[in-house]
């Protein structure tokens, strides 16, 4: 178990100190819920690490008039607590509250969820994609803000020199919903995830997680919706039927489910997400 007694952990006192350590090759340690399982996956833990847990600026959720800024070290539990009841943000709360189990949610961070590139079942990714989130990355002497889809397309490269510091969500959504299918309730990874968001322009944006290796927007379904009357995107059954015609995913085979099954359940998850979206809209 003690594969390296020489292992070093720098507790960064500033983001600059964290970036300098990262630049020298340290792995970022956030909540550790992913990294601590490296030995179980047959991977040695990094020898050199830098932790972000003493940087208070990364623990804040700022709810501003036009946007919400979520620090990378905010935990899933903290995110759900702080955004509970915020108009349009139900999907974010549901994703943060539905992932893993309560003890993991108290520790696992937003940054860790977004930066674990070999984890396909991350709940926050489809929600943030559907919300059109942007992420803030810091590297030495540079601050970069980019759409989450761009970040996900090239995570490995971006994270070579950068630390993810925050996620920014615009408050231009009317309602949002998050539907996930775990095999059991006991905190296992979801087989498939669908997040749906209705923007102020009336359009519905849909993103899918856990089906392919990386979450992505369901562009073909969104394109079909764009030429249908608006009433269609509020009708869960018609949305299910449309989704069934648009399944263009290559499901990954995994321990919880085969790829075909992940694709098969998507139309039903779309129906559930749209039903929940419509219910929220009618309440508003």
């Amino acid at each position: 178990m003690f594969d390296s007694m020489e292992r070093s952990l720098t507790v960064a006192g500033s983001i600059e100190e964290a970036l300098a350590a990262k630049h020298r090759g340290a792995a970022v340690l956030a909540g550790g819920t992913w990294l601590m399982r490296d030995p179980r996956r047959g991977v040695n833990l990094p020898d050199v690490l830098v932790s972000l847990h003493a940087l208070p600026a990364l623990f804040t959720v700022e709810i501003e008039k036009d946007q919400v800024v979520i620090g990378a070290s905010v935990t899933h539990a903290g995110l759900a607590r702080q955004l509970a009841g915020l108009n349009g943000f139900d999907a974010v709360v549901a994703a943060a509250n539905g992932a893993a189990n309560p003890a993991i949610r108290r520790v696992a961070t937003v940054g860790g969820n977004l930066c674990t590139f070999d984890f396909a079942a991350a709940d926050l990714l489809p929600v943030f994609l559907a919300m059109n989130a942007v992420v803030e990355l810091r590297s030495i002497g540079e601050r970069q803000v980019l759409p989450i889809a761009e970040f996900l397309a090239n995570r490995r490269v971006f994270l070579r020199d950068s630390i993810l510091t925050s996620v920014i969500l615009r408050r231009d959504v009317i309602a949002s919903a998050h539907a996930r299918l775990p095999l059991r309730r006991a905190g296992d990874y979801p087989v498939a995830i669908v997040s749906a968001v209705r923007g102020h322009d009336g359009r519905v944006r849909i993103a899918v997680g856990s089906v392919e290796d990386v979450a992505r927007r369901w562009i073909s379904l969104e394109a079909v919706l764009a030429i249908e009357p608006a009433s269609v995107s509020a009708d869960p059954e018609r949305m299910r039927a449309l989704a069934a015609q648009c399944v263009d995913f290559r499901g990954r085979d995994g321990i919880e489910a085969d790829g075909w099954y992940r694709c098969q359940v998507l139309p039903t998850l779309v129906r559930r997400a749209i039903a929940s979206l419509s219910a929220k809209e009618s309440v508003q």
């Binding site: 007694m5 550790g32 399982r37 893993a100 309560p102 003890a103 993991i104 309730r185 905190g187």
Partner: protein, 160 residues
């Protein structure tokens, strides 16, 4: 790396690999073997302890993040020959403990939850137990015992 923390009220110093899981420090260095290491993956909950008042999986807490932390393990609930914690007593009274592997974690998850949610209903209790797997009992009887515990706490309060 040197880490100083409080474990069950005592000041402790750890020196070694900062990625050592808290569960190993508890069991191997402090001989607090009530905390179980079963899956070591965050799935079973048998290793649950309180860190700074919150229930967390000690198999996934690197000791290097715990400098200055306050840790409470199952042993602190009823030290030495003192009476069992009322929740432990409720489990015993309802005869829900079988092999017992899951119960330290079950108690350490539920105790802080019930402290903060004394009016919790069955569904909330089940949601709070999602990360605690029991292979022996089936969960309904555990939930019954928790409900009994909450009822008796309320009766005690009502009787002053």
């Amino acid at each position: 790396m040197t880490v100083t923390l409080r474990i069950n009220g005592s000041a402790c110093r750890f020196h070694g690999d900062p990625m050592t899981p808290l569960v190993d420090v508890l069991r191997r260095e402090r001989f607090l073997t009530g905390t179980k290491a079963v899956c070591r993956e965050g799935f079973c909950g048998a290793c649950t302890v309180e860190v700074d008042g919150e229930a967390v999986m000690s198999c996934l807490r690197p000791i290097g993040l715990l400098d200055g932390a306050t840790v409470k393990s199952i042993e602190a609930l009823a030290p030495g020959d003192t009476a069992l914690h009322p929740l432990q007593a409720a489990f015993e009274a309802a005869d829900v403990v079988q092999c017992g592997m899951c119960f330290p974690g079950m108690v350490m998850s539920l105790a802080p939850f019930l402290r903060e949610n004394p009016d919790a209903g069955r569904n909330e209790i089940k949601a709070a137990m999602v990360g605690n797997i029991c292979r022996c009992t089936g969960y309904e009887r555990i939930v019954d015992a928790v409900m009994n515990f909450l009822d008796s706490q309320k009766m005690e309060q009502a009787n002053g």
